[in-house]
């Protein structure tokens, strides 16, 4: 659960291992580079009062995120892991990237798909 300043104020039992030590911290400080990827969705949920669900790529992982507005502009967040990049070898990287991009292709916004296409052009040998 985030407060209106995006500070982690509560963590469910299933997420304690990852987020428990970060209670009290602003989520963007804990996860560098994540703010532009997630905050627009959180702002939208708070603005409309409606829950929002989206799929996002961050830190090598693809996750489905559900943000549910609560009282006092708090946000309850639920995460479902969908895929991750395995960068150990070139083979595992290419395979896992294809899997991750397939997941994103089915669920992402037009902006996501645009970046996806740019990445793919580089990977496939064309210019970005």
């Amino acid at each position: 659960m985030l407060d209106e300043g995006d500070r982690i104020v509560e963590v469910g039992p299933g997420a304690l291992g990852q987020f428990g030590p970060q209670v009290g911290s602003v989520v963007w400080d804990c996860y560098p580079g994540s703010k532009p990827l997630f905050k627009p969705y959180y702002d939208s949920a708070r603005r409309t009062g409606d829950e929002i669900e989206f799929v996002q790529f961050y830190d090598g992982h693809v996750a489905r995120v559900r943000a549910v507005p609560r009282e006092n502009r708090h946000l309850e967040l639920y995460w479902e892991h969908l895929a991750h990049l395995d960068t150990l070898t070139i083979g595992s990287f290419v395979d896992s990237l294809e899997q991750s991009l397939e997941v994103l292709e089915g669920a992402s916004t037009e902006n996501d798909r645009s970046e996806l296409r740019k990445a793919l052009r580089v990977i496939e040998g064309g210019s970005a």
């Binding site: 070139i90 990287f93 990445a119």
Partner: protein, 141 residues
């Protein structure tokens, strides 16, 4: 101590390298790498680098079989590296230079890092590439 191998290396390699015996056991770690790799002295390299044998192993085997130095480019653990392997009677000296690495923070950073890798590889045209690196060149031109 593998003195002849080290003598051969000092003139040919940067200061950061390790020496392996015939079983790929680490027998020497140069001083700049002591903090990172010194604790692995006497250990088989592959025991600490999962999946690395298929990446580095072919270059080691080629250097041992030919008796000649091998330079190649490999991809391992999110990084593109230049690998220089020099065989000697008493060991195999291995130097790894990081050229570029993936940034998986977002799709944008991933794309940009792929482009950096492309530029890094473009500047290394003289290096022979192993099969995995050839695959990486197709994937990460």
């Amino acid at each position: 101590m593998t003195v002849p191998a080290l003598d051969a290396l000092r003139s040919a390699l940067p200061v950061s390298y390790v020496v392996l015996d015939a079983d790929d056991r680490i027998t020497h770690v140069s001083s700049p790498l002591h903090d990172d790799l010194g604790r692995w002295l006497g250990h088989v390299l592959w025991d600490h680098l999962p999946g690395a044998r298929e990446v580095y192993g072919p270059a080691f085997a080629l250097a041992r079989a030919s008796g000649e130095p091998v330079e190649t480019i490999v991809f391992y653990s999110g990084r593109v590296k230049r690998l220089v392997v020099i065989p000697a009677e008493d060991g195999l000296a291995v130097h790894v230079e990081r050229l570029a690495e993936l940034d998986v923070t977002s799709l944008v950073t991933l794309r940009l890092s792929l482009e950096r890798i492309e530029r890094a590889l473009a500047g290394r045209g003289s290096a022979q590439l192993d099969s995995r690196a050839r695959a990486s060149l197709q994937a990460l031109p």
